[in-house]
Structure formats: structure tokens, C-alpha cells
Symmetry: C2
Subunit: 233 residues, 2 copies
DNA sequence: GTGATGTCAAGAGCGGTGCTCTCGATTCAG
DNA sequence: CTGAATCGAGAGCACCGCTCTTGACATCAC
């Protein structure tokens, strides 16, 4: 779609791309709160009101950044999974976890925009959800394939999921098209929350003065969580 | 310290208390970003510049709110632990987890202030750390007592912590005065991050359209994480 | 080619923010 | 009782998101 449309449409698309790029850079220095349309306009040599021709409001610009962010982390996760040996399910899990952490460390403010405190007054439109699940799709695919290959060996006896969760499990099964027993799904969710909880703790400062060997600790924790699901390291 | 000092000092202390209370209320409606000194002053029938007599900057007011928040969640955790049967370590763990979730659900914006995205441009002073560890002190005490009582039975064989983490483990051992093997400490950290990761996911919207039975799911996940450490349900 | 149409940058303006400074009034300590 | 410290009030600075209007420009149909 590079040379599509009239000249006006092309320059418009290019300007939108440039605006989001500058906004992303400002996100990295001032945070989501400090994102300022006026500042973006100033950096582009534009007058502030002109920005509103391209993004009707600050929230629309935020939405564009959020969708871009989800797609970026989703792409990183997909790439990491594709590069690992298909049969090494534990290795794929760890590779995906590392990809999430890596992306978060290199794009801390974008990560905070996606997984941190919700931006006050901002309501995420429906457009964001389809991009938001790209990483979980990869995660569930790994576990589903491991389960199908009989390589899933949960450590020790664990309490079964309560029956009240059956509805949620069924919905997740169809939404992510995974053929897994409920107990495995809840463990996968636990590992999923543990992954992002660990990344958030590291990024948001909870590990300060506590854990210094961040990479080694992360690998170890993710291995523990993988074992919880039944993935061999 | 209620009737201490001169009349001026007493009215000053009362005003500071009132400012933080109003600020906390505004935090609950507008978020940390929307916290406005002018709005606080307006609600107090004061002129905006007068606030600066009591809090030299917006960051100082934020610091006060953060310290209050850490103390509030710490108190809730301590109370929950004290009310559980001392010998039921799994029950104490679950009670503490529930207390954290409960407090987070009733004070979502304060929780976001503590465990969400860092406020841009805000640098937490050293005063906050002593209040910030009250919950982890309780968590480690439960696990330490369970370990001392021989009630810790980690499920299945897990990979040992890599030697590079020995330094971090030693520092944590002395800082939190817990007498635990390194493997147990790393598992406790994993459960700790899993606890807050789950609460953050629920509060920050990642569970929307995914998990509806929040309380049941939370209990189950926390039980799984407790089992990971070796706590029986 | 020319006129209608749509798009654009620019500017002024509104109400809001954190923060600083000054100026009287009040209150406290010596 | 007096000098010093503290206080509320107000004006002001630079910034913010956002709206509205105006005039210039490119595009397209006829």
C-alpha cells in the first residue's frame, strides 16, 4: 500500500507515521502522561492545532500507540517462538518469556502504556483487543502443542480448578482455540500472569535493592513457572 | 501526639491531614495523573498558592500518599495474617493474598500508584522503602515459620537456583531476616511476583473478556502459587 | 480553463495545570 | 511589647488539551 491513492493521501499517511514516531519518542522521555500534542507539533515545525487534522484527540493518538505496541510485542514473541526448536517446548516457553522481557526493557514506556496503570480518562476502543492477544496466542499454542505431544508433565499433585471456573475455561478454549483440560489452562494463566508480573516488578522498580542479577533471576523464575505448567526446561 | 505543640502547630498538622485526605479522594476519581493541587485547594476553600506552605511540591504530596498507601496495604496484610490460625501456613498465605487483592480492589488508584507505572518525573525518596516492605515481611515470615515447622513440601523436583543468584539470596536473607535455603527464596519471590501480577492484571484490565469469576480464579491461582512454594492448601 | 470542493496551516482564545513571587495580616517567642 | 516567623491571598509565568475561525492552497469535475 506504499504508492496508493493520490499525492495528498500519501503525504497524509507519511505525516501520520511521522507523528506516531515522534510521539513514541516523547513517550520514552516523558511517559504516557507527558505525551503532549503541542510538543509533537513543535518538534515537527507545525502549529499545535494542525495536529488535530490527523488525530482528532490525544486519546486517538494514544490508541494508535497502544495498537502499535501490542503488535510490536506480539511480533517479537512470534519471532522468538519461530526461532526455537519446534519440539523443545520448554525452550520455546523460555524464549518467548525472554522476548517479552527484552522488548519491555528496550521499550519501558510503551510497556507501561500496555501493561501498567490505565491512563486516567482513557477508554480503550475495541480495536485494541485483536492486537492485544497476539502474545497469548503464541503462549497457548506452545502449551497446546506440548500437550498434544504428550510432553506436558505437571509437577506434583495440584488442586483441581473449582467448577465455577468452567465457564471461563470454556470461553478461553474457544477464543484461543486450544484443546486443553481446565487444570492446564488455569496453570497456563498463572504462568502468564507470573511472566508479566515479574517483568512489571523489574520495570516498575519493585526489584530495586532486592534483585540485582535480573536476567538470571528472570530465567530461573520463568523456568519455575514453566515447570508449574508442566514444561521441562 | 494529638495535643502537642502550639496552636499553630496543631492547626498545621490538621491541615496536612485534611490535604492528604482530599488528595486521596481525588486520586480515587481522577487517578495519580489527575491529582491537582489547585483542585485540592479549591475543595478546601483555599487559594492554590497556600497549599505550598504545607507541601513544597506536588511530588511531596505524592510521596505522602505513597507512604500512606504502603502502610495501609501492610496493615491489611498484617491483620489478615494475625486472624488466621498460626499453624495453618497455607491458610495464612491465602488470607494474605486475599487481603492484598481486597485492598487493591477497594483502593484501585492507590494500588496503581504503588504497583503500577511509575509516575513520570517522580523519584521515590528513601522514606518509602521502609513502608514498602511491610507486606513482604509478612509473606516471608509465613514461609519461614512453615519451613521451621517442617511443613514446607515443594511439589516435585524443580531446577535449583543458579549460583549467580547467591548474592541476591544472601542479601534478601539478611534484609528480611529469614532463614531459608536459596531454592525456597526464589520460589517465594516467584509466588510474590505472581500475586501482584495477578492483582495487577485484574485491576488493569487484562482479564477483561477473559476471566469473569475473578474471586474463584484468584483463590485457585494463589493456591497453585502456594503449592509452588510448598504450602499445603 | 475554471469554478466548486475539500484540505490545510495558522492564530486567537478558553479553562486548566504546577509553581514563584510579593504583600499584608496574624501569631509566636523572647 | 516587639521583632521574627508564619500564614493566606493574589498576580503572574509558562505550559497543557482543545475549539473555533480565517484565509491559502491543491484537487477534481465540468
Amino acid at each position: 500500500m506504499s504508492a496508493g491513492g493520490t499525492a495528498r493521501e500519501r503525504v497524509r499517511a507519511e505525516l501520520i507515521r511521522e507523528i506516531t514516531e515522534i510521539a513514541r519518542r516523547q513517550l520514552a522521555t516523558a511517559g504516557a502522561t507527558g505525551l503532549s500534542l503541542r510538543a509533537v507539533a513543535r518538534e515537527m515545525g507545525m502549529v499545535s492545532s494542525a495536529i488535530y487534522r490527523y488525530f482528532p484527540s490525544r486519546d486517538d493518538l494514544l490508541t494508535a500507540l497502544i495498537i502499535d505496541g501490542y503488535n510490536a510485542v506480539g511480533e517479537a514473541v512470534e519471532r522468538a517462538d519461530a526461532q526455537a526448536a519446534a519440539g523443545d517446548f520448554g525452550g520455546r516457553w523460555l524464549a518467548v518469556c525472554r522476548a517479552v522481557r527484552e522488548w519491555a526493557l528496550t521499550h519501558p514506556h510503551e510497556y507501561a502504556l500496555l501493561y501498567g496503570s490505565p491512563v486516567p480518562g482513557y477508554k480503550a476502543p475495541e480495536d485494541t483487543v485483536s492486537a492485544a492477544v497476539r502474545d497469548t496466542v503464541v503462549l497457548t499454542r506452545i502449551i497446546t502443542e506440548a500437550h498434544a505431544a504428550g510432553a506436558l508433565d505437571p509437577a506434583g499433585p495440584c488442586p483441581p480448578a473449582p467448577p465455577s471456573l468452567a465457564g471461563d475455561m470454556a470461553r478461553a478454549r474457544t477464543a484461543l482455540s486450544m484443546d486443553l483440560p481446565g487444570d492446564v489452562i488455569t496453570r497456563a494463566f498463572t504462568a502468564w500472569a507470573g511472566l508479566y508480573g515479574t517483568v512489571s516488578f523489574e520495570l516498575f522498580g519493585q526489584f530495586n535493592n532486592v534483585i540485582e542479577e535480573r536476567a538470571a533471576y528472570f530465567d530461573h523464575t520463568m523456568t519455575l513457572l514453566g515447570r508449574l505448567v508442566g514444561l521441562e526446561p
